[in-house]
């Protein structure tokens, strides 16, 4: 029973990782940009919600709705000013640019908010504390359910956007061949800016969940980035539904590892990540060499 409970808690945790990873996956899929500032953008979103909560006394969820337009605008401007220039300069430049951006965001947050640890758990009220017990040993928390539901809705909405709407087709077309997309009248800069705006908004959502379920400080971003990156790679780079599954798998691996020993939580997640890397890339190479021999 405790294993079943660990798996369930892993799914709840994994849904959080999936939300964090969603924007990272989208930006890689559309522009082949690995956004090293993605975790810091999420933490920035958490601070934005914190400021609104402290200023207005609203619940964190409502405060996020208010913060959302600002996050979308931030993503749009970020793409048009920084990332677009970086993209023109070759494949490695966006990596450097976002690495720099990560440092800038961390230090601006440090300057404004000090290194103190914050949390939105208390302001979220019942959402953080409410939980139900099943069969005595399985516990279902309200927050876990909400995060899981939101994760499924976010991925489903993004899937519908990409597969059913014309802006979505334009995004997929530009992702496949930006040059050919330009030749049928698609402004790739606009499409890219839209993708980054969506990615930053969803990163902000991840930041909100981070702030409610635990604590954050200006340096929390890189850790979130690592988990998000592992979720993307486990699920397969560039695949949206894969990222959701990758996040869930990472979460389950961590809680199962913690079941053995609480110190093994992060480690077992990393081990899953390494195993996937070896199976997918190392394994394929072995097969190819075998076929040639």
């Amino acid at each position: 029973m405790s294993v079943a409970n660990a798996i369930l808690q892993g799914i709840f945790l994994g849904a959080f990782y999936a939300v964090l990873a969603c924007g990272l996956s989208l930006m890689f899929g559309v522009m082949r940009i690995i956004n090293l500032a993605h975790g810091d953008v999420a933490v920035l979103g958490a601070y934005l919600v914190l400021v609104i909560v402290q200023g207005t006394g609203l619940s964190p969820l409502l405060a996020f709705v208010i913060a959302l337009p600002a996050m979308i605008a931030l993503g749009y401007v970020l793409q048009l000013t920084v990332l677009q220039r970086a993209l023109k300069a070759g494949i490695l430049t966006p990596l450097l640019a976002t690495f720099g951006l990560s440092i800038v965001i961390q230090n601006l947050l440090l300057l404004k908010f000090s290194p103190d640890v914050h949390s939105l758990g208390a302001s979220a009220g019942g959402l953080t504390t409410e939980s139900w017990n099943l069969f005595g040993s399985i516990s279902i928390s309200a927050l876990g359910l909400v995060v899981l539901a939101v994760a499924v809705v976010v991925f489903a909405a993004l899937h519908l956007f990409l597969s059913r709407t014309r802006p979505g087709w334009r995004m997929r077309a530009t992702a496949e061949d930006p040059d050919a997309a330009e030749l049928i009248g698609i402004d790739s800069r606009h499409v890219y800016a839209r993708a980054t705006a969506i990615a930053v908004a969803i990163a902000g959502l991840g930041g909100l969940f981070l702030a409610i379920r635990s604590v954050f400080d200006p340096g929390s971003g890189p850790t979130q980035l690592i988990f998000a990156f592992e979720a993307v790679v486990i699920g397969g780079m560039g695949s949206l539904w894969g990222t959701l599954l990758g996040g869930l798998a990472l979460g389950v691996a961590q809680t199962l590892g913690a079941q053995l020993n609480p110190e093994y939580a992060a480690l077992s997640g990393h081990l899953l990540f390494l195993a996937v890397l070896i199976l997918r890339f190392g394994g394929v190479r072995l097969v190819r060499f075998g076929a040639r021999a």
């Binding site: 014309r166 087709w169 334009r170 997929r172 077309a173 496949e176 061949d177 040059d179 050919a180 997309a181 330009e182 030749l183 049928i184 009248g185 698609i186 402004d187 790739s188």
Partner: protein, 242 residues
């Protein structure tokens, strides 16, 4: 006034000069074939007209308006559509998505999915299949249809027969003839001289980045074209020689 006017266009790739001082006009409703050996600069010229290759010097005018500085996606809105060499379909999108993604935002205009299917009826059963699963001829039809979906005033067609089976080339050109009959202005690159002469009103032959011969498709002597195509100036000047 001509719909498209290219004036003294120079295009370079670094030190390599691919197009050297080319001037060219295409009138409304006209079909012009651009011919020439590999490396003559045909594709570069087409891409420069579409806005995909920034020229080094010279001007491109549409309807008398200078559009040289406009990016490709804005030129599409002005009415220029390039069907690129090698088709360049969006492989992960279905045929229908490939067509509809190109549809102009403004409503109206002659071309929609229904109209494209009337010209290329063999695409009908393929509509919901990923573009990557189609045969070469079908892919070329989708590529042309995708260009038409932007409701162009000028259709640029780069090597529509490249890598296709002869029977597929016939099918594509039959449909293209329907489009031309309806009054579409077309500038096309074609390696097959016979086919170019058959479909075009006028032929422009390029050699090493320059226009070396230009004239009505009906009145041009095939030998003169072949000489210009391969740069055999001695024969062209001598007249009776050889």
């Amino acid at each position: 006034m001509s719909l498209l006017a290219v004036e003294d266009l120079d295009c370079r790739y670094g030190l390599l000069q691919a197009v050297r001082g080319v001037s060219l006009q295409v009138a409304e409703g006209e079909t012009v074939a651009l011919i020439g050996a590999n490396g003559a600069g045909k594709t570069t010229l087409m891409r420069a007209i579409a806005g995909a290759h920034p020229p080094h010097a010279g001007r491109v005018k549409l309807d008398g308006t200078d559009i040289t500085s406009l990016p490709a996606h804005t030129r599409v809105r002005r009415g220029i559509a390039l069907v690129p060499e090698g088709r360049r379909l969006f492989a992960g999108l279905t045929v229908e998505e490939n067509l509809r993604v190109a549809a102009a935002s403004r409503t109206g205009g002659r071309w929609n999915v229904q109209a494209v299917l009337e010209v290329f009826p063999f695409l009908k059963p393929r509509l919901h299949m990923p573009a990557a699963t189609l045969s070469g001829g079908e892919q070329q039809a989708v590529a042309i249809g995708r260009g038409l979906m932007t409701n162009p005033r000028l259709l640029l067609l780069d090597e529509a027969s490249l890598g296709l089976a002869p029977v597929a080339v016939d099918a594509v050109y039959r449909s293209l003839a329907d489009v031309i009959r309806e009054g579409m202005t077309v500038l096309l690159v074609e390696q097959d001289l016979g086919r170019a002469l058959k479909v075009a009103d006028r032929v422009v032959c390029m050699l090493e980045g320059r226009v070396v011969l230009e004239g009505e498709a009906r009145s041009l002597d095939r030998d003169r074209i072949v000489n210009a195509y391969f740069g055999l100036r001695r024969a062209a000047a001598g007249g009776t020689g050889a």
